[in-house]
Amino acid sequence: MRILLTLTVWFGLLLASAASAQSLEDLARQLPEGSFNDRAEVVAKIGATGDDRAVGLLNALGEGELRVREADGAVIQVKGRGSKAVGYDPLTGDELGPVGSGSTESIRVNNSLRRAVRAAIGLLTLSSPDAGKRLAAANTAFAAPDPEQIEALDTAIAKEGDAAVRTAMEQARAAAVLASDAPGAEKVAAIGIVARRGGTDALTVLNPYRGDADAPVAEAADKAIAGIERAQQLWNVGQNVWFGLSLGSVLLLAAVGLAITFGVMGVINMAHGELIMIGAYTTYVTQQVIRTSFPGLFDWSLLIAAPLAFLVAGAIGVAIERFIVRFLYGRALETLLATWGVSLILQQLVRTFFGPSNREVGNPSWMSGAFPLGGLSITWNRFYIVIFAVAIFVGLLLLLKRTLFGLQMRAVTQNRPMASEMGIRTARVDALTFGLGAGIAGLAGVALSQIDNVSPNLGQSYIIDSFLVVVFGGAGNLWGTFAAAFTLGVANKFMEPFVGAVLAKILILVFIILFIQKRPRGLFPTRGRAVEG
């Protein structure tokens, strides 16, 4: 209520001053005249004009560059010294030619006048038509609280239409009130406003008042600081969770295809990483074609690349199954050798066609930048990758549980001879299942191309993690893979601040080794007779 009243009063004053407003040019001419106090009033009036040109004029005054030309008494801005001195019109910035020494006299400024200048400039930027500039001005005022600016802020708050900017201005005003010699009760109220802002800069503003001579103020400051620190800890936890989810989604993407080929089919597919790499290169080629032929479609490039990557990697997967893996069913460990061979060949093929160096895959505009969420800043690409990973997981789950193909696939992996008796073409199902796992690896490649280097070695960095995730979750169980990916991701990110990235990773590996001792078949083991097969 109080604030509202002050605002109304100020608003009225503002209208009154506007009525008697003189032009900026007139005011500028008055600058050299009178005592320092008179001139401070002129400066305040200049600030109140809200004229854009006034900022340059006041800056020049503050810098001591404003001088009076003796010939005609005009106020000009002089840059440079001695023979290099050049005159400018302080309002328009037009060059007026060289200024001879002795032809001008400086307009002197003292500290109180400088303060008036600063306050007026603050007021001017606070009334800028650009909301971004007003917000920046309010934030600057908050970071460097100055009691002189209270009035300027009050004026600006009264005029402000944008809610976010007004909040920032009110916080800046509260910070200024704290720095002033206002009564204790007012200061306590101000602390409340500042505390609501939260974050490190609010802490910086509040910290000096912990030991304030006024006991209620000191107490309020202590409480506010404790509250902000608690909130910050919570946000830190939130940030670790987010980073963990982000890492978990990458692990899930990398592992979910393997959960099919290794988890469900039992093939130790060492070429899985290379199928991810193929997906990433498919994205690269798609973007190249779009860049050269259809530049307007660039924002759609990932959506176009995704089905292509699925098909390319899936086709390679079907080929691997038909020509190699097919002969090795029942010899699980030997599939490791053959698919390792495949991975070497795929790596070298990519190296032959695309060269050994990194290829640049661009971010579409909707995946660039970040958005704030409370105290967190979340990058769009990480955000979409989490969504994408979960979407693929859900899609795969539906495919397995709700479609005929999924039914046949489960039948074949659970009891091959019986499925065959029932008329399922097991060989075809095998090929398609492997192709599905490979295709999903390709999709993962599309997403990972956004956050990782696209090079022939891309796959190798994911293969070990993928196997660990699937084994940790329990082979043959998609939910296990899901839980394992996010558990490992979050655990990793929570340890990182304490022990560093490498040690965190080592600890995770040791943890998995120990965990497997306790639960030799992972988090969610497959049960039943098929297990011993």
Binding site: I268, A338, W340, I345, V502, L509, I516, K518
Partner: protein, 373 residues
């Protein structure tokens, strides 16, 4: 049935060939003049010595994989640990001849600002201690790891994956400078061993002969283990673990013993490898290296010991030749080799050779070494 004599035909032939190489190559290096067509230059001698170390490593893996069904993807780590143990001794031998001239601290420690020697570096100035560590470091790791894993009945793929996790964790750990093992540069700039300069021909010949003897010894130890009743139980574990357990054998103890012995053998291979190559770095822990060892064994012929050694020699020799002759085609060739051997030669190259031999002589089928994964 094949002959059950201790040294059967295939081992006899291989040992004879090995003996010829052991004597012949050093002779061709030292006795023949460099102009002679049969002269073996010293770098070639060391190269073959390196191959022999790899062959010993393959024999070590075959002992656990071929005979006991434990597909370890961590043997590269045991090899590297043995190598590091030897490398640490060689580092201490440099003494004050390093770039910084510190009589106690190796160069990298001076560089990283160490004040004194970390506790685990003590004792490595003594050769016997280093030799003990070559056996103990990998042996102890294998014992502890195996003790947990076999007791919890972690088998098959799960065991493979956690051995891979182990070597990967060690890779990351040894890359850290804080570990005190030289970070990613590893240990290098070795000068001499037991007072003999590592760059002299005589030392190199000695190391070569030692490698060959170690390979022969490894084969004999492996043969002895697999010939005894103990070895028969191992094969039982490989082919039907549950049945062997129901017959009253403590399966985990058999596995643990052979796993530990095999790790020590890999450690010896690493220890002989390091002075001949002149460097050991964390790259040796890379999971890809461990997979390559598996490939050697599979290519040569699993469960034959001799085949494993043969496979290692074939692959690493082909690798050296192809990487220099056709650098781009090398990975294609290696990849194809793995695929074709797995599909068409489940018995490996040794199986093929013996099949061809049998075809000529019309002999009865020898003991099958078919293994179920």
């Amino acid at each position: 049935m094949a002959s059950t004599s201790f040294i059967d035909r295939r081992l006899g032939v291989f040992l004879a060939l090995l003996a010829v190489v052991t004597v012949g190559v050093p002779l061709a290096n030292t006795a023949l003049s460099p102009e002679s067509g049969l002269h073996v230059p010293t770098y070639m001698l060391s190269l073959i010595g390196k191959y022999l170390c790899y062959a010993l490593l393959a024999v070590a893996l075959d002992l656990v994989w071929g005979y006991c069904g434990i597909l370890s993807l961590g043997h590269g780590a045991f090899f590297a640990l043995g190598g590091y143990a030897m490398g640490m001794h060689l580092m201490r031998q440099i003494g004050s001849r390093g770039a910084y001239g510190n009589p106690v601290l190796p160069d990298f420690m001076v560089f990283l600002g160490y004040e004194k020697l970390p506790w685990f570096w003590h004792g490595f100035d003594m050769f016997w201690f280093a030799c003990l560590m070559v056996l103990l470091a990998p042996g102890l790791l294998a014992f502890v790891f195996g003790w947990f894993a076999f007791r919890s009945r972690v088998t098959g793929v799960y065991l493979s994956i956690i051995t891979q996790a182990m070597t990967y964790a060690l890779l990351l750990a040894f890359f850290r400078n804080e570990m005190g093992f030289g970070g990613n540069n590893g240990l290098t700039d070795f000068k001499d061993v037991l007072g003999f300069s590592l760059s002299s021909d005589g030392t190199r010949v000695t190391l070569f002969v030692l490698s060959a003897l170690a390979l022969g010894g490894g084969l004999l130890v492996g043969r002895w283990i697999t010939m005894t009743k103990f070895g028969k139980v191992l094969v039982g574990v490989r082919d039907a673990e549950s049945r062997t357990r129901f017959l009253g054998y403590r399966v985990e103890q058999f596995k643990l013993f052979v796993f530990t012995v095999s790790a020590m053998m890999a450690g010896v291979a690493g220890a002989l490898y390091v002075p001949q190559v002149g460097i050991i770095n964390p790259g040796e822990f890379s999971p890809a290296n461990s997979i390559e060892i598996v490939i050697w064994v599979a290519l040569g012929g699993r469960g034959t010991l001799v085949g494993a050694a043969l496979g290692a020699l074939i692959v690493v020799a082909a690798k050296s030749w192809l990487t220099s002759a056709f650098p781009d085609a090398w990975l294609y060739a290696l990849g194809l080799m793995f695929i074709l051997v797995t599909i068409f030669l489940p018995q490996g190259v040794l199986g093929l050779i013996e099949k061809l031999g049998r075809g000529r002589r019309e002999q009865p089928e020898p003991e099958a070494v078919e293994a179920e994964a």
